[in-house]
Each structure stands twice: as structure tokens, then as C-alpha cells.
Amino acid sequence: MLLWKLLRKNISIPQLTGYGVATLLGMSIVLLAIRFYTDVRPLFTSDSSLFKADFIVLSKKISLLNAVRSDKSAFTDKEIEDIRKQHFVNELSYFTPSSYQVYAYIDPTSNIPGFSTYMFFESVPDNLLDVQPKDWKWNEESRFIPIILPRSYLNLYNFGFAQSQGLPQISEGIISNFTLQVRLTGKGNRETFTSRIVGFTDRINTILVPDEFMRWANDRFGNAAKPKISRLIAEVKNPTDPAIAEYFAAKNLEINDDKGEQGKLSYFLKILVLSVSAVGLVIMVLAIALMLISINLLVYKNQKTFENLMLQGYRRQQLAKPYYLLTISINVIVLVLSLLIMVFVHNAYLSQLSVLKITAENSDTWTVIGLAVIFNILITGLNCAWINHKIRSIQIPKRR
């Protein structure tokens, strides 16, 4: 092509290569960061049990001050209202503690070795439970108190206590068959009930009884006019929202177990992905700047050629076209290579991540490919617009 023979003059191969390599590098980094993020994100937001935490349990920090006066660790109505108003809280409820004495023992007439203990109960509204055992109901006539125990308690016994003391390990099934006698004392009343462990929870770290029973029992045996609320349970929209950790840290509240850590971890991951993407983007921006400067230089050096071609009757679009094609070719090569790199590296780290049960989902691949294409179109568009702009600046007749 004759025009190309004229217009390719002064094209700097090192500059174009530099542009291509830098764009490839930047684009690959950005794509990989996004790919990695989409791969790992399900751990934080999906139903994966690994980090599942739509509920968080809140309590005040125990310090020397409020250790002496237990009412310091209780929440006031105002504090509860304030938490309820936070944008990340969907639903807020509280743990109702038992304000009476609980004494549990195994019926000595049964053939199980004797056992007895003082203990306590707490209750939360049923809708905040992660399990709904079929025996989970209370009515005054049946005199039966269903109990839900944290699974971790059983684990603590099985893997800690039982093993070290040479006692038998107990399965969930076995323990659910033990019948306990529970004696409640308070307000001058003393009554005995039968009880059984009907389920185990992963969510709430306490000995739970039905809310309805708790209200009834507190009324009948309770010593306090109104039970103090020292623990809250909140259903949050996105447990990885860093605002949660910030808010509770500011209010000097403690978030139960590692579920707050998860927010931090997710926040850290976001920061990591953002920083890596930023580095990639900066490289890309520099590459684009290099390309724009190259175009400037090229148009400047070839200005006489452009002018002479325009005097021969060539349209500026005709003159810009070979450069468009060149830019598009380079960017398509960059696109293809960056996708190849992305797939290659992705497969490489996927085997490492398989421990976390992360699998490649095609939908995500398409999202990233789509993003890559959009990036590429934007860059190509910018390059072409700049070429067009520079060539249009050559005018015949020259405007005074």
C-alpha cells in the first residue's frame, strides 16, 4: 500500500514495542488482580460456610472498671437504638439472660453416672437461630425445656477433656438422648423440669433456651425487675463491611469470635487488590502517555508528508486510517496476550487455592474477559481519538 509506505516513515519500533509491553504488563496485572478478587470474594460474601457470618454477637469489653460493677457491661436502651440505626444492621436483638438459679443434674435413678452442675440459660429470638430442631418449643404444661448447645462445647469436651481424662467421646446423637433434670430457683419458687439437648449451633456461643420459656421463667423466678442486656446479636447486610469494625471499635464494643477478623481480612484483601490494580493502572497510564507522545512525535515528523498528501487531495481520515489499523493491531495483540497470561497464571494459582474449595467459574471468566475487552476498547479509542486529533490539527490552508 502506497500510503503506508509513506506514512510508516518515522514510526519508532522501540517506542511501539515499549508501549505494547508496558500495556501488556499493566493490563495483565489489573486483570489478574480482578480475577483473583472474583475468585476469592465468594469466601467472604457467598454462603460458603468458611466465612459465613451474617450474624455478629456484640458485647462490651470487660475491663477492670466494669468487672467490678456488672451493670457497666450492660447496654442501655439508647446504645441499642444507636446500633439499630447503623446502616449495616438489618436486624438487632439481644440475649436475654436468666435471672434465677439453674441447677441441672442427671436423674440418679437412671443408669448413667451421676452428674450435676449449676448453670445458666440465655435466649435469643428464634429467627436469629441457625438451627430449628423439631423439639424446640416450650409450653407450660409439658414442663420440658429444650436446650441448644454450641457445637464448640461438645468439641471442647470430645477433643479436649474426654481424650485427656480417658473418658468416652460423645456424639451429638448420644448426647441428645440424655435427659436432664433442671431445677429453677428464685423469687421464693423452686420447680423441677425435664430437659434435653435438642440441637447444636455454630452461631451463638451460649446455652440457649426458647425465648418464650425465658420470658415465662424470668417472670416466675426472676430476681431482677428487668434482666440486664449485656450481649446483642445483629444480622448485618455485609459482614465484610469495614464500617462494622470501625463503628464497634469506636464504641469500644467487642465482636464475638473471629467474625470481626473476617471483615478485616476482607478489607485487607480489597486494599491489596486495589493497590495491585492501581500499580497496573499506573503502568497502563504511563504506557498510554508514551503512546500519545509517540503519536505527537510521529505526526510532527511526518507533517510535511501529511501536508503534501493533503495538497494531492488526500482526506485526513485516509491519512489517519493506517495509524488506526496499526494501533488496533497492537492493542488486539496486547488483549490476546494479556488474556493468555491471565488464564495461565490463574490456572497456576487455582491449584494452590483448591484447598479453599475455590473452583473456576466460567461466568467469572467471562466477566474478566469482558472487562479486558472494555479496557482495550477504551485504550484503542483513546489512541485513535488522539491520532485523529493530531492529524486534524494539520490544516491546509493554515488558519491565521
Binding site: 502506497l2 500510503l3 516513515k9 508528508t305 495538497l311 487531495g313
Partner: protein
């Protein structure tokens, strides 16, 4: 385009400096299609400027230039392209050939845009002007005289109402001038076009309608 007229045109540079009497600058002059005009002048009175103004390459003049009734300073870039492809031919004093392209490529670059001449016609022109054997040679290896012939052939590869020639024969011997003049005359007659040719004083062998002193 049937007439090409100047009304009180003057290069801006002469506006302040002042200049000797002229039959074109600051006058009303009309050039008519089909007629041949010789414009003679000493160096430095604006021969090239005049043709460059008409070709729309420069605008540093006062007064007006019209193509028929259209003032050329109202032409849009796309209209200029059309004019340079189909209305005005121009043989530049500096030739403006692409020195890295061959003779053939330079001519093709124009002819592909216009599709005006056939391959045979171009080859005939190369033969007649005695540069057929140079067809594959890059322009920068040719003498200026040979380059002038290429520029003339290139200019003929398009339709035009007027052909503008800026001292076109400066490096050619009489024999070549006679040859090229006859080739150009033939093309002018075929197209029914007008000619504006500038010269330092030499009267090239054309059948002029009028000779103007710039």
C-alpha cells in the same frame, strides 16, 4: 468552475512595504476556463504566493479570490479536497514529490485517488517524456529535470478546470520544454481547461490569451 477571479488581492507582506505597479495585485482580474495566461514577474513579487492563494494553501492576503461566485475563504476542508482532486491541477515550483517513493509510485499515489488515467496512458506519458526507464527508480536518485517531468505527469493524472504551473520548466532544455508544452496543451484542449503559468520572463511555447505582469 468557469472563472477564477481576484478582487483587490494583495499579499499581506506588501500591504505595509508597498510595491510597484502590477496588473494583478489590487486589481480586478478574471481568468476564464479554456484560456491560457502567462504571469511574468521578477523574483520576490509574489508569483508563488499568487498560485498558493488560489490553491488554498495559504491565506495571508487581503482582498478576495473567487471561484465563480464563491469566495474561497468560505470553502470547507472537504470542498478544498474536491477542488484539489477535480478542479485545480498544480505543478509546484518545489515539485513536492515523495522522494522515498519511485516515479511510478508517485504518479500512482495521485492516480489511485482520481482514477483518471489508465495504466497505458501513464506508460505513454513516461515514454514520451523519456523517463520510462526510471519508472522503478526512487525520486531522490533523479535529476531535477527528470523530477520536473514526473511532477508534470502526476499533475496531469486528474481532471481540472485550471492548471496552475509555478515556473515549471526551469531545469529543462528547449527541446524538452517544447515536448512537455505540447503534451500539456493537448491535455488542456482535451479537458477544455485554463492555464495559469508563472515565469521569470521566459515565454514558454503556449498559445496565450493574455500575458500579465505581476
Amino acid at each position: 468552475m468557469n472563472t477564477l477571479s481576484l478582487k483587490h488581492t494583495l499579499p499581506v507582506i506588501f500591504f505595509e512595504a508597498g510595491m510597484p505597479a502590477s496588473e494583478i495585485w489590487l486589481k480586478e482580474v478574471g481568468f476564464i476556463k479554456g484560456r491560457l495566461y502567462l504571469i511574468t514577474a521578477a523574483s520576490g513579487v509574489g508569483k508563488s504566493s499568487l498560485l498558493n492563494y488560489i490553491f488554498g494553501e495559504r491565506t495571508d492576503y487581503t482582498g478576495d479570490i473567487f471561484f465563480d461566485d464563491r469566495n474561497i475563504n468560505t470553502l470547507r476542508p472537504s470542498e478544498w479536497l474536491d477542488i484539489r482532486q477535480r478542479r485545480l491541477g498544480f505543478i509546484f515550483q518545489g515539485l513536492r514529490l515523495f522522494t522515498d517513493l519511485t516515479v511510478k509510485e508517485n504518479i500512482d499515489l495521485k492516480n489511485r485517488l482520481t482514477g483518471f488515467k489508465s495504466k497505458t496512458e501513464i506508460n505513454d506519458l513516461l515514454e514520451q517524456t523519456d523517463i520510462a526507464d526510471k519508472a522503478g527508480t526512487k525520486i531522490r536518485f533523479l535529476s531535477f529535470g527528470q523530477q520536473q517531468r514526473v511532477a508534470i505527469i502526476r499533475a496531469l493524472c486528474q481532471p481540472f478546470d485550471f492548471l496552475l504551473m509555478d515556473e515549471p520548466f526551469s531545469h529543462l532544455d528547449e527541446q524538452n520544454v517544447a515536448l512537455l508544452s505540447s503534451i500539456i496543451t493537448a491535455e488542456l484542449q482535451r479537458q477544455g481547461s485554463g492555464l495559469l503559468i508563472t515565469s521569470l520572463g521566459t515565454q514558454y511555447p503556449f498559445n496565450y490569451h493574455s500575458i500579465l505582469k505581476l
